[in-house]
Symmetry: C2
Subunit: 278 residues, 2 copies
């Protein structure tokens, strides 16, 4: 089996930065999973005693709360500060940016539209900065029943496909006087998506490694599936079904921005052991 890694994959700047922050803050707790990868969260818990809480109200005075890469809802952050919690911010700077843009645009009177998943923590956070509210959409279809003011600010979840974002922009621009389009899709997303597109075209089977609730991993999987029908989204080597490799010669691999290298290496070692059957 020929195994090839995408040119760009795996841990991005924001994730590396957050893990470093967590490792430097033993005994702290993250509010929500630091990144969308349960295996890495377990490692931080085991090796660095970094806890995890899903309810920020359980933090007590003197506790250290780490804000996850995806950010935090504005009022919750204010509550933590008010309650005397020591807050360490591991929000990815590429997520802080759309939060700031959202607040600025909302205060300037723009109708704010966020392209992304309303239930995703990043978008819950970003939306909370819209002083005058914002609408979150995932497709042009949803826009068709909505009315907006003449001036619109358009902001994207950092991990979305640029083609889908452009479809939204293309719907809005001819219909409204001003559409202020912020390209908040992060560079790592662009690069990983470009790389997966290239490698999927020349692979017989594709493995996309990452948390099942990781937005950017899901997008990589969607892109991969477009060019290689035998694409699989796995969390680690335990998800591999060896029958996928029957009569396959070339296996391409990519991984989401929150997938640690050690998981990717485990996957590669597992496939290397597959006997070559044609």
């Amino acid at each position: 089996m020929k195994i090839e890694l995408a040119e760009n994959y795996g841990f991005c700047f924001g994730v590396k930065r957050a893990i470093k922050i967590a490792e430097e803050n033993e005994n702290a707790s993250t509010y929500g999973p630091l990144i969308h990868n349960s295996k890495e969260i377990n490692r931080l818990s085991k090796d660095f005693k970094v806890g995890l809480t899903e309810n920020y109200k359980t933090f007590k005075v003197g506790d250290t709360a780490i804000v996850r890469t995806h950010g935090i809802v504005k009022d919750e952050l204010a509550d933590l500060h008010k309650d005397g919690i020591n807050v360490i911010d591991a929000t990815c700077p590429y997520v802080t940016k759309p939060q700031e843009i959202t607040q600025e645009m909302s205060e300037a009177g723009y109708d704010v539209i966020i392209f992304g998943d309303e239930t995703h923590p990043e978008i819950k956070g970003v939306k909370s900065y819209a002083t005058n509210g914002a609408r979150v959409v995932t497709s042009v279809h949803e826009l068709k029943s909505m009315k907006f003011k003449d001036s619109i600010a358009l902001i994207a979840q950092t991990t979305r496909k640029v083609e889908d974002y452009m479809a939204i922009a293309n719907y809005l621009i001819p219909r409204y006087k001003e559409v202020r389009v912020f390209n908040t899709i992060c560079n790592a997303t662009f690069e990983n998506q470009d790389a997966v597109r290239k490698i999927a075209q020349k692979s017989d089977v594709m493995l996309i490694i990452g948390g099942k609730n990781s937005s950017n991993t899901k997008e990589l999987f969607n892109i991969s599936s477009d060019d290689c029908k035998d694409s699989y989204h796995i969390e680690d080597e335990n998800d591999i079904d060896y029958s996928w490799f029957n009569e396959k010669k070339a296996c391409g691999i990519s991984a989401g921005a929150s997938t640690p290298d050690w998981i990717i290496q485990n996957v590669i070692h597992s496939i290397e052991k597959i006997p070559y059957k044609l």
Copy 2:
């Protein structure tokens, strides 16, 4: 011969307004042709003694200068005021808007890109409002060799095709942090273009009536040609070649925003006289 007019065609709001202003100012002179239609300019000259000068420096104290629908270069307007000329502004309000946007965006530090024809008076005027300069482009191809700042303001000539404008926006948005897209293509342009698209699809021959240097008429002709290969751009009934109608059943007609109704009526009367040959 079945003759059908497009649902929307001819004189737009800005042209009607400018002609009214000219008719109310006998003995004034326009700086450059008031609209891109020489026949209508001749009528204003003959019936209302409205003159025409191509050099604004020939105006003398006490003269009345009418600014054409396409606007005027900022410094030239300032000179006219300084020289004690009585200035009557017939700039189309839909052209004043992109002038204002250009100035505001330029002063706010945006890299200003204007989609349009650099040699067209409207664009000469709009560009002159870019305090810190602006680049004028007609295609994505030209953009490829250009570098811009992270924040771009994109402005369109009022009479351009929205599809071509979107191509420019689609190139820029994924490549720059912020693209502020102003939809400055005027509603009359949208409506006339939509209407010509519809009628061209069901016509055997199409006549697009308007000045040969009229930007919006040229766009109507381009759109018409996409759907009806026998499309002709004429200035008036004298340009008609009767052989165009041999073996044709349905003739569609549209006209540019600066084409007066009396010219359209003359064209219709000329075709009505054509003997029906199949």
